[in-house]
Amino acid sequence: MEDGKKGLDIFGLIKSVLFTDFVKGLVITLGYNVSRSITLRYPDTEKWIPYRRWRGMHTLNKDANGRELCVACELCSRACPTQCITVIPMEDATGRGIADRVAKVWKVDLVRCLFCGFCEDACPTTAVRLGREYELACHDLSCTVKEREGLLKPQPVPESFEGGVVVGARFVRTPGGISVVADLSKSRKRAL
C-alpha cells in the first residue's frame, strides 16, 4: 500500500494536467444549467394540489339531496385533543339535515387545531372531513375561527380530483385579500 503512494502517479499527473476533474464538474453544472428548474412558480402561475389524504381545513359535507350530514352529536368536539371544535345542537324538522337534530353552531378554531384528523374519525356520518385547503394565513384573528356556513360551501378542489399534482393558477388580489385560484384543467407532475 505504501509503495503505491511513493511511486510517481503518471495517470493522476496526466489527469491533473488536462484538468479532467475540472471539466467533468463543468459538464455537470452545464447540464444543470440547461435543465428545467424545479421551482414551483407559486403563486403566480402554478399551485400544488395535495393528495386526498391531505389534512387541511375542515369541511362539512352534505348528502346527495343537499341535506347536511352533520347530526350535531358532538363526538368531534369530544374527540378533539385541543378542544377547538364547538358544537351547539338544535332541533330542526325542516329537513335541513339528515336527522331532526342539526348543528346550530359548528365552529372550529384553526389557531388551536392541530389537524390531527380525530374529528374525521369520530364522525359517525362522515360529515366532517379535513379538506385540501391549505392557504389559511390572514391578517387578523377574524379569519381563524371558521363557522358552519363557510365550511358547508363546496370545496375549490372537488373530491373527485385526485391531487398530488401541480396545476395552473392565477394570483388574485382583491380588496378583501389575496387568493390563488387554481385551474385544474392544466396539471403536471412535480419535478422531484
Binding site: Y32, T39, R41
Partner: protein
C-alpha cells in the same frame, strides 16, 4: 493654433470616452442579473423572477436599494482612507480600458464614416494594462486597513498577498503572448492572430494552451472570484475587505470587481482567441465586433460557470498553486516558447 481636424479629433475622443465610461458603469447591472440567473439555473432554481419579466429589472431594484442605504463609516475607522478606498479600487478598473481595443475600425452604415473602436493605439498596451490593473489592489488593501476591523484587515492582507503572487504568473503569461505575437500593442497582437483559428495564440502548440491556463488561473485569482476569492471568504472573514462598507461605497467595490471580470474576459479573447478575428475565413462576413462580443460573452459566462462549479481553495493551497506551480511552470514555458521561436 489648433487645426479643425485636431479639434474634431479631441471631440470625438471625448465622446468615445464618455460613451465607454457609461457602458462600463452600466455593465455590472446586467452582469449581476446574469450571475444570479446562472447561479439559479445551475442550482436548478429560477433566480430572480418577480421584478419584471424573468427578473430583468432586479438590478434596478438593487441599485435603488443601494442608493438609499445609509452610508455607514465606522467610528474608529480612518475616515479619509475609508472614503477614498472604493474609488481607488474603482478608478484603475476603468483606466485599464484606455488601452483595451474593442475592435479595429467600425464603419457607420449610413454616413460611411469610420470610427476607431479603441481610445488609444498604445504601443505598450499590454504593459499599461498590467501596471494599472495591479493598482486596484491598493483600494482593497486600504479599504481593509481603514475599516479598523479584524475581518476587513485580514481580507485586505489576503487580497494583497494573493494579488502579488498571481500578478507574477499573469505577467509571465502576457510575456508569453508578447513573445508569440512579437508586440506589446494589443491591436498588433490581434492582427498577428488573423486568418483562421489555427493562428490563434491558444493553438500555438504546445505552449499556447499552457500560457492560456496560466493566464486564466492567475486572472481568476487576481479578480478575486471563486475558486480564489479568499479575500472575501464569508466562511472565515464574514465578507473580507468590504465587511464594513455599505450602500454606494460597497457597490463601488462590486463595480470594480465586475469590471475587472469583463477586463479579464476581453484580455483572454485578445491575447489567446484572436480578438475580433473570425475562426474561419468564410465566416468573416459576420462583423468583427460580433465575434469579439460573442467571445467575451462566452468568457464572462465561463467565469460565472466556474464560480458555481468549484468550491473555494484553502489559503495555503492558493499560495501553493501560485508559487510552486504557476510561476515555475511559466518560467519553463518561457524557455520552451523561446526555443520554439528560434
Amino acid at each position: 493654433m489648433p487645426t479643425l481636424d485636431l479639434i474634431l479629433e479631441v471631440i470625438l475622443l471625448t465622446v468615445k470616452v464618455a460613451v465607454l465610461t457609461q457602458i462600463i458603469f452600466a455593465l455590472p447591472m446586467p452582469l449581476t442579473w446574469l450571475e444570479r440567473k446562472i447561479a439559479g439555473h445551475i442550482q436548478v432554481r429560477l433566480g430572480p423572477w418577480r421584478v419584471g419579466p424573468h427578473g430583468i429589472l432586479q438590478p434596478f431594484a438593487d441599485a435603488i436599494k443601494l442608493l438609499f442605504k445609509e452610508d455607514i463609516v465606522p467610528d474608529k475607522a480612518d475616515k479619509i482612507l475609508f472614503k477614498i478606498a472604493p474609488l481607488i479600487a474603482m478608478v484603475p478598473a476603468f483606466a485599464v480600458f484606455a488601452a483595451i481595443p474593442l475592435g479595429d475600425t467600425f464603419k457607420i452604415p449610413v454616413i460611411g464614416a469610420e470610427v476607431k473602436l479603441y481610445l488609444s493605439d498604445m504601443n505598450v498596451g499590454a504593459l499599461y494594462i498590467l501596471a494599472i490593473g495591479g493598482l486596484s489592489v491598493y483600494g482593497m488593501i486600504l479599504g481593509g486597513w481603514a475599516s479598523n476591523s479584524k475581518y476587513a484587515l485580514l481580507g485586505g492582507l489576503r487580497c494583497s498577498a494573493q494579488m502579488i503572487s498571481y500578478e507574477i504568473a499573469v505577467s509571465f503569461a502576457v510575456i508569453g503572448v508578447v513573445m508569440l505575437s512579437n508586440s506589446l500593442n494589443l491591436l498588433e497582437i490581434v492582427k498577428s492572430q488573423g486568418g483562421s483559428f489555427l493562428s490563434w495564440n491558444f493553438l500555438y502548440l504546445p505552449v499556447g494552451p499552457v500560457w492560456f491556463a496560466i493566464f486564466l488561473i492567475g486572472s481568476v485569482a487576481e479578480i478575486n472570484r471563486i475558486p480564489f476569492d479568499l479575500s472575501e471568504d464569508e466562511g472565515t472573514l464574514s465578507s473580507g475587505y468590504h465587511t464594513e462598507y455599505s450602500g454606494m461605497r460597497f457597490s463601488f467595490f462590486m463595480l470594480a470587481e465586475y469590471v475587472a471580470m469583463v477586463t479579464v474576459s476581453i484580455l483572454s479573447v485578445i491575447f489567446f482567441f484572436g480578438g475580433w478575428n473570425a475562426p474561419f475565413a468564410f465566416l468573416s462576413f459576420i462583423p468583427p465586433i460580433a465575434w469579439f462580443m460573442g467571445k467575451v460573452c462566452f468568457f464572462i459566462y465561463f467565469f460565472m460557470w466556474v464560480r458555481f462549479t468549484l468550491p473555494r481553495y484553502r489559503y495555503d493551497q492558493l499560495m501553493k498553486i501560485g508559487w510552486k506551480i504557476l510561476i515555475p511552470l511559466s518560467l519553463v514555458n518561457i524557455l520552451i516558447t523561446g526555443l520554439m521561436l528560434i
